[in-house]
């Protein structure tokens, strides 16, 4: 059966959509505060790409971890950064290469960054920095890339955007794990530990 064409909404339906979207955003924030609940089980790579969005919780989100299966074929380039700290900055990563270049690209846009790409099955120990309470920090992930959006002004004085990511091959694609947050003050080097 063919999909139903998108509906024209009346006043009630528009208001309801707004409230339901708010409900979804709150659920996403709750999920973001709980890395395990943020995990997404994505079917095999023969299916179309799909998106996962995590929104860092306003207070409780010390770390956001998103895990899903992605397609094994990575297009180039490795990453792209758009925007400046006066507006949204979007970090799009399609291949875990060039961490230092990505740090420089973000620094040029006024965002100090600490980027770490990790070996298979590893993660950074969670005691590297003091996290800043932020809202609106988002990630979306597809089979082929992930994209983090940093809202304007999120990274303040003495703050650093911290991201670590790892890719692991699985039966029908790849599993990507991404931790990201805003740190205030010094960020200690990544102490690599086994991922759970």
């Amino acid at each position: 059966m063919n999909p139903t064409p998108p509906s024209e909404l009346d006043g009630f339906e528009t208001s309801l959509l707004t409230e339901l979207k708010s409900h979804v955003a709150k659920s996403a924030a709750t999920n973001a505060a709980n890395p395990r609940s943020a995990a997404v089980d994505v079917p095999g790579p023969t299916r179309p790409r799909r998106w996962f969005v995590g929104i860092a919780a306003s207070v409780a989100a010390a770390m956001v971890a998103a895990i899903l299966l992605v397609h094994a074929l990575w297009p180039t380039p490795a990453f792209a950064v758009t925007g400046r700290n006066s507006g949204d900055i979007t970090v799009r990563v399609v291949r875990l290469e060039g961490a230092e270049k990505l740090e420089r690209a973000l620094d040029e846009r006024g965002v100090p960054a600490d980027i770490t790409y990790l070996p298979v099955g590893k993660r950074c120990a969670p005691d590297r920095y003091a996290a800043v309470s932020v809202s609106g920090l988002m990630i979306s992930i597809s089979y082929t890339e992930f994209e983090i959006t940093i809202p304007p002004g999120t990274v303040g004085t003495h703050d650093t955007f911290v991201m670590s990511a790892a890719v692991a091959p699985i039966d029908n694609g790849m599993k990507v794990s991404v931790d990201f947050n805003i740190a205030h003050g010094p960020v200690r080097p990544c102490r690599i530990i086994d991922a759970p």
Partner: protein, 193 residues
Amino acid sequence: MTVITESASGPQDVAAIGINPGEFERFYREHLEVVRVYLARRMDDPFEVADLTADIFLRAIAGCTTYRRELGPPRAWLIGIARNTLGDHRRSGARGASAIRRLSAQRLLDDDSTQRILERICAQSAARLLLAAIAELPDSLRHVVELVAVDDLSLVDAARVLGISAGAARVRYHRARRRLRTTLPRQAQEVTP
């Protein structure tokens, strides 16, 4: 909040509607008509329709990670949710349903929207006749006929909604049709595929 604008969404993106407001909006716009019609065929109070519409989508959001492609298209999955929501509503009554309702949607109704719901209810009189005609069928037969003849699901998708085999659904459907030939008005028979 940033809106993710890029999306190659499809039926497989149902899991994202619980965490991505943009994906939810796409799903809502694509499937709202299914919910409109489902409720217009079964309810006559626009305020209850409003609340149940919200309840159905809230349940879809809460249960989106349980959706699997092998369960059928999202439309069939959503009809299954609507069916359960309405069943719970009728079993517990409006008071009981509202006690667990997280979003009282009828407060969002304006006169124009209320009138539109009433018009949809009136427009579904033929389906109401059919529902009335099959009301006396045994549950096992009625559920199949309702999903196929009233909600326009395929027999395979109706079987998925009911958790039975397609063969069993086919047998039940034809048994029901055999009975209904003697009880259904002609126009109702013509609704069946």
